[in-house]
Symmetry: C3
C-alpha cells in the first residue's frame, strides 16, 4: 500500500489501504453475496470454486427463461463474453438490462474482444448495456476502446502490456461512465479520472485457464459491499486475488500451474488479516 | 455404524452396516457400471472424475439425438437440473422415460429447485417421470415437496438444515414412490417409511462446486449393484462419498477446498476396507 | 527410444529420437501456437490447462458465427466429437473445411465412436473432411475403421487393447491419407505404412476424465512446428504427454487421479531436457 496525492485521489487516499482491503473482504465473507455468473464453459468450474473459496455464493445460470429471475435474487451479475452462441448473447443482454433496472452492479469481461468481428460486435453490444465495471487484459481493453483494431489480440491471451492500455481504459471509462480494469503484471483501474495500480499476483496465473475470468467474478462480489465505490471495490478485489496467488505460490510444492490452482483456492478460503494487511499493494497513481 | 430397531428397519438392520457399505462399493468397482449423466456444465469435470475415481465409467451425453441410445447401453441414469435450456430439459425427460421403460434406475438432482419459477416447474416435470431416487439439499427438497415456497432457497446453496426437510422428504417419497435423500451436516435418506441417517462428510465439501452433484451420480452407480434396494444403495453411496472427504481432509496439506478436491478424488480411488468398515456411520433412525 | 529399420522407417530413423522429441517441444514452447479447440464440455477445463502448461495458447470457441474466423487466426484445429448437438457438429464441419482450405493441420478425436449410431455417423462425417491426424482409443479406432461394429465400445472408455486396433488404424490411415494414433498401454501411430510405438504414460491417466482429449489437442500443437511430418509430430506429442504423467506420478504425494492431474500440469510446465531425452520411449516398429 502506498500513499498518493493525485487531484482525484483524495477520497481514495483515505480508503484504498491494505486495511480497507481486508475489511472489504471481510464484509464480502460476512454477507456471502449471491453472484449470478453468465460465463463461458471453460471458466465455470474454477469461477464457481473461486467464489465459494472467497466466501461468496455462485449461481451459474444462462437460460433465457430464467436469467431475469436470477438477477432478481442475486446481489450482482457477471457477464463473460467467452461463449458467444446467439441465445447466450441474448441472455446476457437481458440479464444486464435487468441488473441496471434493479440498480444492481454488473461487470463485463470482454473475453477475446478484437479476435473476431462477431466477438467485438457482441462486446460492444454489452458495453452499451452500461456495466458498472469492465475487466479485461490490455489487448481486450484496447480493442474494446477502439484504440486498437483486432491486430493486437491473439486468441484470448494478451499480447500487449497493461500499461499500454491505460489511456484507452481512461477513455473507455469516461465515455461509458464505468470503471475499467486492465489486468497484467501491474493491474490498472480507472474511473476515467483517478488511476489505481495494483501490484499483486504472479505471472504463473496466466497459465491457469480462466483465472482472469474468475477474478472478474470476484470483482462483482466486492461491488456488492461497496455501493457507489466501484473503483475501490475493483482495486481491492484485484489485490485479494493477486495476494491469494502469491501466498498460494509459496505454499505450493512446485511452481507449476496445477499446484498453483489448488493452492490459490485454499488461500482464498484460509487467508487471514496479517497476510492481507502486509501484502496488499494498492497505489493511487493519480 | 449403529444398530437400530425401527419397525420398518428390519431389513435394513441386517443390511445397512459399514461392512455392507464396503461390499457394495466393491461390487461397484468390480462391475464398473456405465453411468449416463445429463448434468450441468459446472459439474461435468468433477462428476466424471468422481465416477472414474470411485470405479465407475461415466458417459456425459445430452443431445436429444442420442440420449435414448446412451440410456440403452448404460446401467443407470443421472439427471441434474442445473442447466435448464429447453432442449436440455427435453433430453432429460426423454432419457428418464427411456430408463423407466427399460427398468433401469435413475436419480434426480433438483438443483436450485425453488430459486426460479421455471426451475421449480422443470423439476416437477422430471419428478413426474418417476425417479428411483431424488437427492437434494434441504431447501431443494422443501421446495420440491411443496412444503416451502421459493423463499427458502438462495441460489443453489441450502439455507435450511437437513433435519428441517425430513418430513418433506418422507412425504415426497411416499407420494412419488421413490427414495429421497437430503444432504447436509447429517444426510437423511427415506423411502417414506424407514429413515436412515448418514453422518460422514465435511462442511468443507460445501465449498467445492458440484460436490453434491457428483455425489448424486455416485448414488446412481450404487443403485446398479443393489437392485430393489434404493434405500440401502443411497445410504451407502452417501457414506462412501463422505468418508472419502473425511480421509481426504486428513491427507490434504491444508484444510482448503482446493486441496480437499484433489484428495477426495485420490481417496475414492485408493480407499481400502479398513477405512470404510471403521468409518462408515450409517444409522437406521426409524 | 529405440532404433529401427523398417522399409518405410528411414526418415523416421533419423528423426524420431528422444532428442528430437525435446527439440520439437521446445519449438512448440518458442512459437506458442494458438490451437483452436472445438471440444466437449467435460474436457474444456483440462484441455485448456494442458495446452497452457505445455507452452501453447488455447482458443475454445464453437459458435457457428465465428469458428471460421478462429481457424483463420489459429495455427491448428482440434475437433473432438464428445458433444454432439446438431449446431456443434455443423460448426465442427465448417471449421474443418476452413482448416483444409487454409492448409492448416487439424486433428480429429472420435470420442465414443461406435457407442451410438448418431455418434458413429457424425465421426464419419468429420473423417470425410480430411483430418491430418485421428487419435482415439482402440474401440473408437476399430469402430471408425469399420473393422468393428458398435459392440466393442462401452461408453467412451476403451474395451480393447491398442494392439488390437493396429491393422484397423493402418487401413484407416491408408484409405483416408491421414495419420492414425491408437492410445493404450502402448500407443501406436501409423501413416498406413510406417508404425511407431510410444511406451510412455501411466494406466492412472485413464482415471482422469478427458486426459485423452487433452492429449489430442497437444498433437495439434506439435503439428504446427513439424509441417509435413504428422507421424513424427504425433509420436512426439504422445511421448511428451506420457512422460509428464510418469514424472507427475513420481512427484505426486499419492498415486491417485486427483494428485496426478495436478502434477501432470506442473510437469508439462516445468519439464526439462534431461527428463525428455532420458525418458521418451519412441520406437519405429516398421
Amino acid at each position: 500500500m502506498a500513499a498518493a496525492s493525485g487531484p482525484q485521489g483524495d477520497q481514495l487516499q483515505l480508503e484504498a489501504t491494505s486495511e480497507s482491503c481486508w475489511q472489504l473482504w471481510q464484509a464480502v465473507r460476512a454477507k456471502r453475496p449471491l453472484v449470478h455468473c453468465i460465463t463461458n464453459f471453460v471458466s465455470m468450474d474454477i469461477m464457481a470454486n473461486v467464489l465459494l473459496a472467497a466466501g461468496c455464493s455462485p449461481a451459474m445460470a444462462h437460460s433465457l427463461d430464467e436469467v431475469e429471475s436470477f438477477v432478481t435474487i442475486s446481489s450482482a451479475l457477471l457477464v463473460n463474453m467467452g461463449t458467444l452462441s446467439s441465445d447466450w448473447v441474448a441472455a446476457k443482454k437481458l440479464a444486464a438490462k435487468k441488473a441496471v433496472e434493479l440498480g444492481k452492479p454488473w461487470v463485463l469481461d470482454p473475453v477475446g474482444c478484437g479476435a473476431t468481428p462477431v466477438r467485438t460486435a457482441s462486446c460492444l453490444d454489452l458495453l452499451a448495456c452500461r456495466p458498472t465495471v469492465v475487466r479485461g487484459n490490455a489487448s481486450e481493453v484496447l480493442a474494446l476502446a477502439g484504440a486498437a483494431g483486432s491486430s493486437g489480440v491473439k486468441g484470448v491471451d494478451s499480447t500487449a502490456a497493461s500499461g499500454d492500455a491505460v489511456e484507452a481504459a481512461k477513455s473507455l471509462a469516461s465515455k461509458h461512465g464505468c470503471v475499467v480494469a486492465v489486468s497484467g503484471e501491474v493491474d490498472y483501474v480507472t474511473d476515467g479520472q483517478a488511476l489505481v495500480a495494483v501490484r499483486n499476483g504472479s505471472p504463473l496465473l496466466t497459465l491457469i485457464t480462466a483465472a482472469g475470468c474468475s477474478l472478474t467474478a470476484l470483482i462483482a462480489a466486492f461491488l456488492v459491499v461497496a455501493p457507489g465505490q466501484p473503483l475501490m471495490a475493483t482495486s481491492h478485489a484485484l489485490a485479494v486475488f493477486g495476494l491469494a496467488a502469491e501466498e498460494g505460490l509459496q505454499l505450493a510444492p512446485r511452481p507449476g500451474p496445477g499446484s498453483l490452482r489448488v493452492a490459490l483456492l485454499d488461500c482464498l478460503h484460509l487467508m487471514e488479516r496479517a497476510a492481507v494487511v502486509e501484502g496488499a499493494r494498492i497505489e493511487v497513481v493519480s
